[in-house]
């Protein structure tokens, strides 16, 4: 197969005037929509699909891909400045990004996010270019037992996400599991906890929970404490310059998470969210000062931002080379392909090498444009924080409502959003951490379905989780990550 020829053809597409123009349009719109609190790549792609009608497929898809990773690139902004993640992939960004902005270093936080995104995006495109067809095999090696084990490993992160009381973190995670069971059960088709309300059949969207527990809870907190002067002086944006020491600190997470994020992105169903969480957790585990995480750590911000952008490129592997969408966003992206009459799949690289390689090559251009576009804009974007507090709070509320509505087109879910805003505020008052809740909610659904799929196929035998090597390895890592600190602690007390 003329891989090199194909790639050259791809660069021809990407570096044509038309190619650059449409990549620019795509990433510009994507990053702009992504910056809006509550709006993420799903909304961005859905908005753009009708515009592509009648366009030349290669140009249209290069643009749509730009919208996708542009939105992920821009998605960190709302997380960092407003604690209002627009997609699940940027929830972990808020853990350290928001505290950093609150400390008066919004400019620096945005610069770290932009550079990390750029590095993650670019390294992963190299990986995508070199290994896309080969990695298609990796994407399908994961069956239900492996997914269960992966989600299980993700859950061990709860221990690292808990600040203070472990019991409270576990209760919070249990709540996440409870709420993810709402809706039609995939394996039996039985509606669970829907109380005969058709609006609940599809379950609760992740975005509703994230915006409720993070953005609206924060808004409640700010409103209640509006007279507290110590909170009102957050307009300080700080410098956007990254020092050499900063860059050095970022280099570790960036280099590791570009690879890890990409690999997790390749797995259908895992994607940017799990990549960002696992990226955050692994960096916290190996960090010399893990106690800084959650309080505005540079590593803690750089890791999820690198990972989620790397995972976004990774998600193109199953989409382009198998025609399998791995997430809600890539499913909409697949829709965009089909609307243009292009069927992604194993034959795409042969039938339409210009599209296959054009998209990949254009991602280099796109990532450079994103960096050049975003860095100079940071001082202006972070001025957002200078908007008078009452106005800013109202804007966050409005955008949260718009974000939820643009995903569900259903008023009912707005009430659910407000419900979780109240829950989030109450959790904050009683110092229950929200992160374990959201992690359990993200992982729980897939974990349960994988467990039951695996057990149905194995006729109820739990041995499948041990006889499958990948599954066994992942479960062992999870057990070790729990056991090692405990054993170490015991040994220390004995001495």
């Amino acid at each position: 197969m003329g891989g090199l020829d194909g790639l050259l053809q791809g660069f021809q597409v990407a570096f044509s005037i038309e190619g650059i123009l449409f990549v620019f349009i795509g990433v510009f719109i994507g990053t702009f929509i992504g910056m809006m609190p509550g709006l993420g790549p799903i909304s961005a792609i859905a908005i753009m699909i009708p515009i592509t009608y009648g366009m030349e497929p290669t140009t249209a898809l290069v643009m749509m891909a730009g919208v996708y990773y542009g939105a992920v690139f821009g998605g960190s902004t709302a997380s960092i400045l407003l604690n209002a993640p627009g997609i699940s992939g940027t929830v972990a960004t808020a853990f350290d990004g928001y505290p950093m902005a609150q400390r008066g270093e919004a400019g620096k936080a945005l610069a770290i996010a932009a550079v990390s995104s750029f590095v993650g995006g670019t390294i992963s495109v190299v990986l995508l270019m070199l290994f896309a067809p080969a990695l298609a095999q990796v994407a399908v090696t994961f069956g239900p037992p492996e997914y269960f084990a992966l989600m299980f490993m993700g859950l061990t992160a709860i221990s690292s996400l808990s600040e203070g009381s472990t019991i409270k973190a576990l209760i919070s995670a249990t709540l996440g599991f409870v709420f993810v069971t709402v809706g039609i059960d995939g394996q039996t088709g039985t509606p669970r906890f829907t109380f005969n309300n058709p609006n609940l059949l599809e379950g609760i969207d992740f975005l509703v929970i994230a915006l409720g527990l993070f953005a609206l809870a924060e808004v409640c907190f700010l409103i209640v404490n509006r007279k507290d002067t110590s909170l009102s002086d957050k307009a300080n944006v700080g410098s956007t310059k990254l020092s050499k020491a900063d860059l050095k600190e970022m280099s570790g997470p960036m280099s590791r998470q570009s690879f890890l994020g990409f690999v997790l992105g390749v797995l259908p169903g895992a994607g940017a969210t799990i990549a960002s969480f696992i990226g955050y957790i692994t960096e916290k585990k190996i960090a010399k000062k893990p106690e800084e995480f959650g309080k505005g750590s540079i590593k803690g911000l750089s890791a999820p931002e690198t990972a989620n952008n790397a995972a976004t490129s990774g998600a193109f592997v199953p989409l382009l080379s198998l025609g399998i969408p791995g997430s809600g966003t890539t499913a909409v992206m697949l829709g965009a392909f089909l609307v243009l009459g292009i069927q992604p799949g194993p034959l795409l690289v042969q039938d339409h090498p210009d599209i296959f390689w054009g998209i990949i090559a254009s991602m280099y251009v796109g990532n450079i444009i994103l960096l050049v576009l975003n860095l100079p804009l940071i001082p202006y974007i972070s001025k957002l924080l200078k908007i008078p507090r009452p106005l800013l709070i109202s804007l966050v509320i409005i955008f949260s409502l718009i974000g939820v509505y643009s995903v569900s087109f259903n008023i009912f879910h707005l009430y659910v959003l407000l419900f979780f805003g109240v829950i989030g505020y109450l959790m904050r008052l009683t110092s229950f951490p929200a992160a374990p809740f959201i992690l359990a909610f993200i992982l729980g659904g897939m974990m349960e379905q994988s467990l039951r799929q695996a057990l149905t196929a194995s006729n109820g035998s739990y041995m499948v989780f041990i006889t499958e090597p990948i599954s066994l390895a992942l479960l062992l890592i999870s057990v070790l990550s729990f056991a090692v600190p405990v054993i170490r602690g015991r040994l220390r007390t004995r001495q």
């Binding site: 059949l201 169903g269 089909l338």
Partner: protein, 331 residues
């Protein structure tokens, strides 16, 4: 800028008020739409419902069959139930409709929706699509009979995977054919896998048989990753890859399954309104443009008038209801 958007909002409100007079019925049995028509696809963009609705609307607009604007609205959720509930609330407004297919019969039968096809006005059926049963290319079965013989002996060893939940289309289309082949249908192992997971499970061997639509298999068959053991059409389909697929009937299994797709309006539409839409859909169905679309997606022509459609649905309901009851999946 602010003024501009306020003006825009005001105009929008005006339009919305003007549109409120859409409920007027037919005069002398004649009726024409008095505003934009909204077609609900009760699933996300890019799926079967969405593609059918968009291509029909496209032909209607391009060939000037319908003068008013047509808008496709995606209302995913509950396997269609959320979209149906939405159109059900639009009674007395014939400017709303949705695209339906067998889940409209299945989902009420297995109790996941209170609303079913009887709560709507069938306008016209447009196309037929068929199910395909695919296995990995290196699987030991080469046709449906081999698979079913194996299933009769070792039902616990064979896992069927599909996208829809148990008791809905992907599951029941397989059950229907398997029953005709003499398989004990209560022993069929079915897992449901969303988000593209179903095809993955066939490719990595976690599941054995993929029950899906014909179109979904073409790309992987051409790439030599999977093979189609049989399809549920009455006769062989046309098309480069499609014509290679043997029907269940050709293999001596006397059963078919049709994934019909057509349009439904809210309850209580009068004769003039039904007639208007029947004729519009007929014109689409007969057009050269729609013929090309059918060929592109591997759909078959299956036009039915409102009356024919209703009778057909009653038959389907009775037949599928029996099947679900035997499986113990009815409410």
């Amino acid at each position: 800028m602010k003024n501009l958007s306020m003006t825009g909002l005001f105009i929008l409100l005006l339009i919305m008020t003007a549109c409120n007079d859409q409920t007027a019925g037919s005069v002398n049995g004649e009726w024409e739409p008095k505003g934009p028509i909204e077609i609900v696809a009760p699933a996300g963009a890019g799926g079967g419902w969405d593609t059918t609705a968009r291509s029909v609307a496209q032909v209607m607009e391009e060939e000037n069959i319908v003068e008013e604007d047509l808008g496709i609205v995606n209302k995913p959720g509950g396997g269609g139930a959320v979209g149906w509930a939405y159109v059900d609330r639009k009674q007395n407004n014939p400017h709303h409709m949705f695209i339906g297919s067998p889940p409209l019969v299945f989902i009420p039968l297995n109790g996941q929706s209170q609303i079913g096809y009887e709560d709507f006005t069938p306008l016209a059926n447009m196309i037929a699509d068929y199910a395909a049963f695919a296995v990995a290319d290196d699987a030991k079965w080469d046709d449906l009979n081999e698979l079913f013989e194996d299933m009769k002996e070792n039902p616990q060893d064979i896992t069927v995977v599909g996208t829809s939940s148990p008791g809905s289309m992907d599951h029941m289309q397989f059950v229907k054919i398997a029953k005709a082949a003499g398989v004990d249908i209560t022993k069929i192992k079915y897992v449901s896998s969303q988000d593209g997971g179903a095809m993955t499970q066939i490719l990595n061997g976690n599941a054995d048989v993929f029950s899906t639509g014909v179109a979904e298999t073409i790309e992987q068959v051409r790439a030599g990753k999977i093979k189609v053991l049989g399809i549920t059409a009455e006769e062989r389909l046309e098309g480069e890859t499609l014509s290679q697929f043997e029907t269940a009937k050709e293999q001596g299994i006397d059963a078919t399954f049709v994934n019909w797709r057509g349009f439904f309006g809210p309850a209580g539409m009068d004769e003039g309104q039904i007639k208007y839409y029947e004729e519009a859909f007929k014109e689409v169905s007969d057009s050269e443009a729609f013929k090309e679309i059918r060929e592109k997606y591997g759909w078959q022509e299956m036009y039915m008038t409102s009356e024919e459609y209703k009778d057909y649905l009653d038959e389907q309901n009775a037949e599928l209801g029996e099947l679900l009851e035997e499986m113990g999946l009815t409410e």
